[in-house]
């Protein structure tokens, strides 16, 4: 007797809801993040920085390499040099825009590489289990015994200065972190019924990992990886700041901050500009990652 009204509401709800039911998980996540003002503002700022870095040669900027001894360290707002000039008389606006090209690549590429390597390692360790899991995860543990800044600097210090070495060093720092997350989500999925069903219907381990596991764990690993971009940007620029990354005269925010340090008594605010760019990119990626995380948490 009590079941009749209950099933009636369920039927009604089902009939009223086909529009929302038809939408898939990622479409829902997309809609939720599009409605989040903070995330969209950050995405817009990042889009502007990325576009200006890509389109730098066509923006009618000064030559970022051309210096002049007579117009060194001009202040912000000098006519012709809206953001002043650096210690060699090069236009700051041009160098900041061009600087984005290298800074964004050396900051983001290590996370992308580590995402690929770490996800593969973690899924294999989590799905295969046993001795292979022990071997992979105990190796990962060793890298956890180093604070990440120390590890990055130790590796790139040992390899020597250079863009490629700094990318390698940061990738090595992030692979263990992503592997650990990938392994733990994979272990959570591997014993579920649909994996068992796939195995029973004759799917091989690679097919299961690629088709059935990957789709279910990629979201969580992706969100974690996006949260690392902010750290990676700061560390990559930090390595250049120490003199371990980019070499002069290349425009790159960390290196610019380093070479301008000597100028803080002459023209302090121009010297601080490159760091503001790193800060802007880093905070936008952090907020965007937070927004993505809460958009993907459908239970809320």
């Amino acid at each position: 007797m009590s079941e009749l009204p209950l099933s009636a509401t369920t039927d009604a709800a089902l009939q009223a809801a086909p529009a929302t039911k038809a939408r898939g998980y990622w479409a829902t996540v997309g809609r939720r993040i599009l409605r989040d003002k903070v995330s969209m503002a950050c995405a817009l700022v990042l889009l502007l920085i990325f576009l200006s870095a890509i389109l730098a040669p066509w923006l009618g900027l000064e030559d970022p390499y051309k210096g002049s001894m007579i117009r060194r360290l001009r202040h912000i707002g000098t006519s012709g040099y809206p953001l002043g000039t650096d210690e060699l008389g090069r236009d700051m606006l041009a160098r900041l825009v061009y600087g984005g090209r290298l800074s964004l690549v050396i900051g983001i590429l290590p996370v992308i590489l580590a995402f690929g390597i770490g996800t593969s390692l973690g899924i294999i360790a989590g799905y295969v289990g046993g001795k292979l899991n022990t071997a992979i995860m105990r190796t990962v543990d060793v890298f956890y015994a180093f604070p990440s800044v120390l590890l990055a600097i130790a590796i790139s210090g040992a390899l020597g200065a250079g863009i490629l070495n700094s990318i390698v060093a940061l990738t090595i720092v992030f692979v263990p972190q992503i592997s650990r997350v990938a392994e733990s989500v994979t272990t959570g999925v591997r014993n579920m019924d649909f994996v068992e069903a796939a195995r029973a219907s004759g799917a091989g381990p690679f097919t299961i990992m690629r088709v059935h596991i990957l789709g279910n764990v990629l979201g969580a690993i992706f969100v974690y990886a996006t949260s690392l971009i902010s750290v990676s940007m700061i560390l990559a620029a930090g390595l250049s700041f120490l003199g371990l990354g980019t070499k002069p005269p290349e425009p790159e925010w960390g290196l610019m901050l380093n070479t301008l340090r000597t100028a803080i008594y002459v023209n302090p605010w121009v010297a601080a500009l490159p760091g503001a760019m790193i800060f802007a990119v880093s905070i936008c990626f952090n907020l965007l990652s937070d927004g993505l995380r809460s958009a993907m948490d459908i239970r809320n």
């Binding site: 605010w269 880093s282 907020l287």
Partner: protein, 317 residues
């Protein structure tokens, strides 16, 4: 508890050996000859071979590692190539300054983080929460070496209140707890404190929110407990996790101080590491990284044991 402690200590041994292996291998992934720093450019083949034998670089790698580990266990990390002084003594002197900096930063960062986190968690979804959360996100997103520069610009260059670099008047390296020295600590300590401040705020906020939404809090309130009493329960429940996070942060501050120490010319382990890298002083590089990593492992161990000691929910069996 004793059994748990003993087991945790035993688990640490393979980690310590692997850490030593990584530090050892760092020198051997280095392109070029490790002797390049001491050897004059026009050195003869015989001299190079002689030096290589003297430093033991001519033996097979596993043998070199075994000998190096054995000596390290006796506290002998070799001599710095640049200065000729024992590496361990140089590192320990520098680590003292880094510990001073890290503890000062921890006091600032943890106090601020706990306060902001508790307030934000208690007043969830209000403007107070939003303000504290933005502060925390700014703290974890700011390139701290740049923040150091900005603080120097404001407080040293523009206002001339505090010294910009160094750890004491007249370039002195010996630390003392008086105002003349403390003035030098203010800016580096504030700079170091922003990341732990942000992370502790976020952790404590999440913990407070979770605990306040649990049934037992409602029961406490229903029984008529005043808000101060409820707060005490929140703190007691949040303490173990918060403690673990803070212990880890202290380790990051000790090991990750190189950028800040470079900005402020603070004579600590990071500064030492920086000069070791650029003078290609490989024994010093190896030794500094080993000591810092071992500090980090030890700190993690202490945190685990402390957490198990104060939190009855952690299984010690």
């Amino acid at each position: 508890m004793l059994a748990y402690t003993a087991r945790r200590v035993v688990y640490v041994i393979p980690i310590v050996i692997s850490v030593a292996l990584v530090c050892f291998l760092l020198v051997h992934i280095t392109p070029g000859d490790p002797l390049v720093a001491v050897l004059p450019a026009d050195a003869s083949q015989e001299l190079a071979a002689q030096l290589r034998a003297a430093y033991g670089f001519d033996r097979p790698l596993p043998v070199q590692f075994g000998l190096w580990l054995l000596r390290a266990l006796h506290g002998d990390l070799g001599n710095s190539i640049a200065t000729g002084r024992p590496v361990l003594a140089e590192v320990m002197r520098a680590v003292g300054n880094t510990v001073t900096l890290a503890i000062a930063a921890a006091i600032i960062g943890f106090t601020m983080g706990i306060l902001l986190g508790l307030i934000a968690g208690y007043f969830r979804e209000t403007w107070i929460d939003k303000l504290a959360t933005s502060f925390a996100i700014a703290g974890v997103s700011v390139p701290h070496y740049w923040l150091g520069m900005v603080l120097v610009i404001i407080f040293s260059v523009e206002l001339n209140w505090l010294p910009a670099v160094g750890a004491g008047p007249n370039g002195s390296n010996s630390w003392a707890w008086d105002w003349a020295h403390l003035r030098y600590l203010v800016l580096p300590a504030i700079t170091t404190s922003v990341i732990p401040m942000g992370i502790v705020t976020r952790t404590v906020r999440a913990l407070t929110g979770d605990i306040l939404s649990q049934d037992f809090v409602e029961a406490l309130r229903a029984k008529g407990l005043h808000e101060r009493g409820v707060f005490r329960h929140v703190i007691k429940n949040a303490a173990p996790t918060a403690l673990a996070v803070m212990g880890l942060q202290l380790g990051y501050m000790l090991g990750g101080s190189i950028l800040i120490e470079t900005v402020f010319s603070w004579p600590g382990s990071g500064f030492l590491l920086n000069s070791a890298i650029f003078q290609r002083d490989l024994p010093l590089l190896q030794g500094t990284i080993l000591v810092l990593a071992l500090f980090f492992v030890l700190l993690n161990l202490l945190v685990d044991i402390a957490q198990a000691a104060i939190d009855p929910r952690i299984k010690r069996g």
